[in-house]
Every structure is written in C-alpha cells, then in structure tokens.
C-alpha cells in the first residue's frame, strides 16, 4: 500500500494478483509489492463489507419502520433532537432488539460510523507489521481522536 519506497523489481507478486472481481483498464502501480497490495485489498474489503452491512441494516430498519402502524406525518420543518433512547449505543441496541425500526436504522448508522474506525485500527496493525513506527504512532493518534469523539466527548 505504501507506494513511496523503492522496491526491488524481482519481488514475487510485484505485478499484483488476479484478485479483482471485475476487469479494470487501469494498470497496477509498478512499485507495489505483494504485502502492500494485500494490505490495500484487506482495507478495501473492510470498508466495503462495513458499508454494505450498514446499508443492509438501515434498509431493514427502514422497511420495519415504514410498515409499522405508529407512523405519523413527517415534520422536517422544525429541528428537534431524537428520543433519548436513540442517542447512545446501548439504548439503540436495546430498542433494536425490540424490533423498533428507528433503532434498527440507528444500529446501521453506528456500524457505518465504526467502519472507518475499524479501518484505522487495521492500518495500525499493518504499519506495525511493516515495523513502521512513525506511521504506527500517527495512526494511533488518529484512533485516539476517533475514540474521544465516539464516546460522545466534546471540547
């Protein structure tokens, strides 16, 4: 994934594996070695799986919610905060378990929010495997800032 370093051209897998599901016209970067390429694909898969999972959950929640009897006319003209149960991860999960559509949607959104966090965590591991201390440190700083925000802290 780190296309900055000079690599030996003889390294195995330097041309990349036949891992694409669909044909692409773009050529491979010549400087990527096998492990960089694998890392990049792993990170790509995490993002794809996370987003698709989140979308599936949101869609399910939307269907449950729209088919529910307790539907009222939407009033988007005025802003109001959502119900207290929908503002914490624990509350959202509890309500989703009772098959409340809105809570299921929120679970999907939490999955969506956690997807990039998982990506950053995986990047930290990847940089550690490459013994790249500088980037392990930078990645952990980002992770710390993300966790600060996720726990609902504001400055």
């Amino acid at each position: 994934m780190m296309n900055g370093r000079p690599h030996g051209p003889a390294k195995a897998g330097a041309t990349g594996g036949p891992t694409d599901e669909r044909p692409l016209p773009a050529p491979r970067p010549a400087t990527d070695d096998g492990s960089d390429r694998r890392m990049q694909l792993a990170i790509g898969s995490i993002l794809r799986i996370g987003v698709l999972l989140a979308a599936a959950i949101v869609l399910t929640g939307a269907v449950v919610w729209l088919s529910g009897a307790a539907r009222t006319d939407a009033a988007f003209g005025t802003f109001h905060g959502v119900a207290p149960g929908l503002t914490t991860v624990a509350g959202v999960v509890r309500d989703a378990a009772r098959l409340r559509g809105e809570a299921i949607i929120q679970v999907g959104l939490v999955v969506l929010i956690l997807t990039p966090v998982a990506r950053v965590a995986l990047s930290a591991v990847a940089f550690a495997l490459e013994r790249d201390r500088l980037y392990v440190a930078l990645t952990l700083i980002v992770l710390a800032i993300l966790l600060f925000g996720l726990t609902g802290h504001t400055l």
Binding site: N3, G4, R5, Q40, A55, T87, T115, V117
Partner: protein
Amino acid sequence: MREGFTNIRIGMFLEVGTTAGAIVGAALATRLPPHVIETVFGVVLLVSVYLTLRLREPEPVPRATGLAARLRLQGTLPTPEGPVPYAPQRVPLGFGIMTVAGALSGLLGIGSGAVKVLALDQAMRLPFKVSTTTSNFMIGVTAAASAGIYLHRGFIDPAIAAPVMLGVLAGSLTGARLLTVAHSTVLRWVFSGAILALGIEMIVTGLR
C-alpha cells in the same frame, strides 16, 4: 482503492489534522448560530470553485523534499503510459488546510471532500485522481470523528439518515465506476458545478 490511485500515507498523515479539526468543529457546531456558519461556508465554496477552474491540474513533481521526504509521502500514479512518480509539495500548508477542512466538516456535518481536494491538489500539487481518491479515503474517518458526538447529542434522526445514506451509497457506487474512465477535465467541471450549486444554496439558506 483497488485502482491504485489512493495514497494511504498521505491520507493517514492528514487524518491527524482532519479528525482533530472535526472534534473542534463539532464542539463549535453546538455553540455558533447556524446561519452565520452556512453563509461563511457558502462563500468559501464559491472561492474554491474559482480556484479550481483558474488553476490547472499540476504537473507531478517527482522529487520529495523536506517533510514530504521524511514522511515518505511520495507515490506513483498509474497511467496508460506507465507509472508516473509524484511527491506532495508544501506539506505543512496542506496539513493546515486539511485541519480547517476537518473543522468545517465537523461544524457542518459534511465530508467537506471539496475543501480536502483543494488542499491536496492546489496546495500539495497532487495529481487530480490521487487527490480525489485520497480525499474520499479520508472522508469516512473525518466524519466518524464528529458523528459520535452528533449521535450522543441526538442530532441524527433515523427518518432523515436512512434515505440519505441509501441514496448516497447508490450514487457513490455509480461514481466509482465512472472514475477510471472519466477525464480529469470533465471531473473538474462536474465537481466545480456541484460545489457552485452547493455554495449558492448555502449562502441563500444562510441569509434568509
């Protein structure tokens, strides 16, 4: 990402700035009057469009110097004629703009990919496809930094979030397929048109 345009080191390094900025922005979002923020940001977007259209895509500078070299931020752009090396310029300036972009993103609850791309290709002189994909790579992380704060404050309404999320996903999947075949010039015009519309809309909403 599979196309090899994204520069993960640049993304990772700049995310330190964007996430820190996003936390500050989200904190400000709870305190500042929204119409003021909207108006100012609309103006920033219009200036961005002007810059994007005035400046051409920079010629890639192959040699990394200073901070770019120490952080090993250089990369290669895959092209039909073979890989073209590039190295970011003016890294501290780019980092500064990205921090501001992160703050705007936290403030307005948007990815502010527009401002990010401007920092990446105008300040750091990255090739357009690298700046666009690397910016996309960062948007999720930047948004996640402030999204937790919004969730805890009850700012995320499932009735709005569900259709928006599904629509954005469908749109971005379509866009990702077009990227590898699209021309840089066409991309820039489409991009500028979108920002122009967004900027005008925000100013009109903000002043009303």
